[in-house]
Subunit: 340 residues, 2 copies
């Protein structure tokens, strides 16, 4: 028997999540059955989209169930194998392998082998498979390449440029021929990182000036693509800045995730008519077909040192909720993970 | 010399246009020069988009100039021809021909032949070339077929279902295989016309109940396509109703055209992410390549009596401004025209 320490959602948060919405619970895990793996998690992912799953709202992913362990991506080491087990790609899984799987928010997990993927820890560190080589990277890639239909020469604006997805969007845009890469970030430290390390041309500190004015200075001729992680005033500023036939990839709206009242939408959406704009929402899970292309390109960029990548880690399973709340408040640069 | 009576914009309206924003002016027209036509207008078009041109705002079409005649589509009879004149398609133009051209808001116009099109008044009445067979019809067709990518079986919702564009959107959707055609209109008379004559399955009277509740009743399983002529609460209701991979053609936002303060956008735009919605603005002028296909299909439908079509006409050049203001207030069923 193995004991797993896991986070349950015990109450649906109203606005900002508070400690009483969660409980840390011990559970005993059986030995893996046939086709199963026992995994000791080493890194857990916390992501903004999880806030939506805490609500009891009809949505594209079912809400977290109350008094059950929450889920999310995790990376871990295989401690025991039930018979002969293959991962999602058909590769054999051995004790000691590092796998990525969807049973995060806990220290140990019993997982069907086919729900895991063995990852190459020589190519990238284990936690990178929650970030630059994982869902985060695929989100940036799919949203930019497919949803926003990035073209060479495009002027690109991305919000949360020091965040996990945003920092990759800017860099992928540059590597794929964008002529201008502008971002937004909150505070001088994040701005500096995005410019110096992630290579953004200009980054607006939205805490120091209104984003609309900042964007107009940073991209005086306007933008062709906006990758939206934020919603709110950022989307409104982008709609004003977008040029004819501009495109918006709607990825997230973190500014509203903790809102308890409806947040007004952009008052200038009508500009989409005259400028023939396209706004399109997307989920990375729709673009599984891009995975091989993404993994090959990203592995090459990483090997060549062409991608700057940063993590903010909190330590220990006890810190997972605190890490998640800090993420929603913008306390991270790059990918937020929990190190176990 | 021919005297033309024409409407000038003499002041930019603030909010709802008032009489003092316009002046009726006499101008003397020369005989047509080489390649020109003298046209006696018989019908003038007034359209919601003209409200935008009255503002001094950077937009996709330049604003009307002050103290100059306003422009817009018109139909008229050729009274004199300067030499040998061809229309936009290369067809010869003779005295007595009926042409459609962009110099409305006046009784007579001197027009370059290549800016006109000779129309077939046996196929449809002259004023139809401002409506069902003209820009109005092409707008409905392009927005539905191309921008909203209508597919057989789609559930379609269109606002302003008793309006010029909206009434055609519903009927074209039905003819092209929509499984449900829902509209909105203001007042029982318009609702009845849209259901009885234009063949909508259900039409919500947005003056009698909130559009969100009405749409939920009318399309309990949701919609796949929304054709937006209105903006505001209609767009918000549609975003809630739209199903996975739904599409919105943004055509107009008449609810905000006279607004003097920014109108908040839809508070539920974030639903576009989870439902992977596409919102796309369009102008009919971008889809000139669809014109032959549109004209052939629409002529066939008209000949077969499969399109219901209605006009609201005001009489005389003096009434043009009043007709335009009435249009913005929803005083029309079908296409609003000025009969001279």
């Amino acid at each position: 028997m193995t004991t797993s320490t896991q986070w349950h959602l015990v109450r649906r948060p109203h606005g900002e999540p508070v400690d009483a919405d969660f409980a840390l619970v011990q559970a005993e895990l059986d030995a893996p059955g046939d086709g199963q793996l026992l995994v000791r998690n080493t890194f857990l992912s916390v992501d903004p989209y999880m806030r939506g799953r805490m609500n009891d709202a009809k949505s594209y992913v079912p809400p977290f169930e109350l008094d059950q362990p929450m889920t999310g991506d995790a990376v871990g080491v295989v401690e025991a194998v039930g018979g002969t087990v293959s991962d999602a790609t058909g590769a054999a899984v051995q004790v000691g392998d590092t796998v990525v799987h969807p049973y995060g928010w806990r220290t140990h997990a019993l997982v069907e082998g086919r729900h895991t993927r063995v990852v190459d820890t020589e190519l990238a560190s284990p936690s990178a498979y929650l970030g630059v080589m994982g869902m985060t990277g695929r989100t940036a890639y799919a949203g930019l390449v497919r949803t926003a239909e990035l073209k060479e020469g495009d002027r690109v604006f991305v919000s949360a440029a020091a965040g996990a997805v945003g920092s990759l969007v800017g860099q992928i845009a540059r590597l794929k021929g964008a002529s201008l890469v502008v971002g937004s970030a909150g505070g001088p430290e994040k701005v500096q990182w995005a410019v110096d390390e992630a290579g953004f041309d200009r980054v607006v500190d939205y805490k120091a000036q209104p984003i609309a004015a900042g964007l107009e200075e940073a991209a005086p001729e306007g933008i062709d693509v906006y990758f939206d992680n934020v919603g709110g005033d950022h989307l409104e500023a982008a709609l004003s800045s977008l040029r004819l036939h501009g495109r918006v990839a709607l990825c997230g709206a973190i500014s509203a995730y903790n809102a308890t009242e409806p947040v007004p939408g952009p008052s200038n959406l009508f500009q989409a008519i005259g400028k023939r704009l396209t706004l399109r929402g997307f989920l990375v899970s729709d673009h599984e077909d891009l995975r091989p292309e993404f993994e090959q390109e990203m592995a090459g960029w990483l090997a060549d040192g062409r991608i700057a990548w940063r993590e903010t880690a909190v330590e220990g399973i006890e810190s997972a909720v605190e890490g998640f709340r800090s993420l929603l408040a913008g306390g991270n640069t790059g990918k937020m993970v929990v190190r176990l």
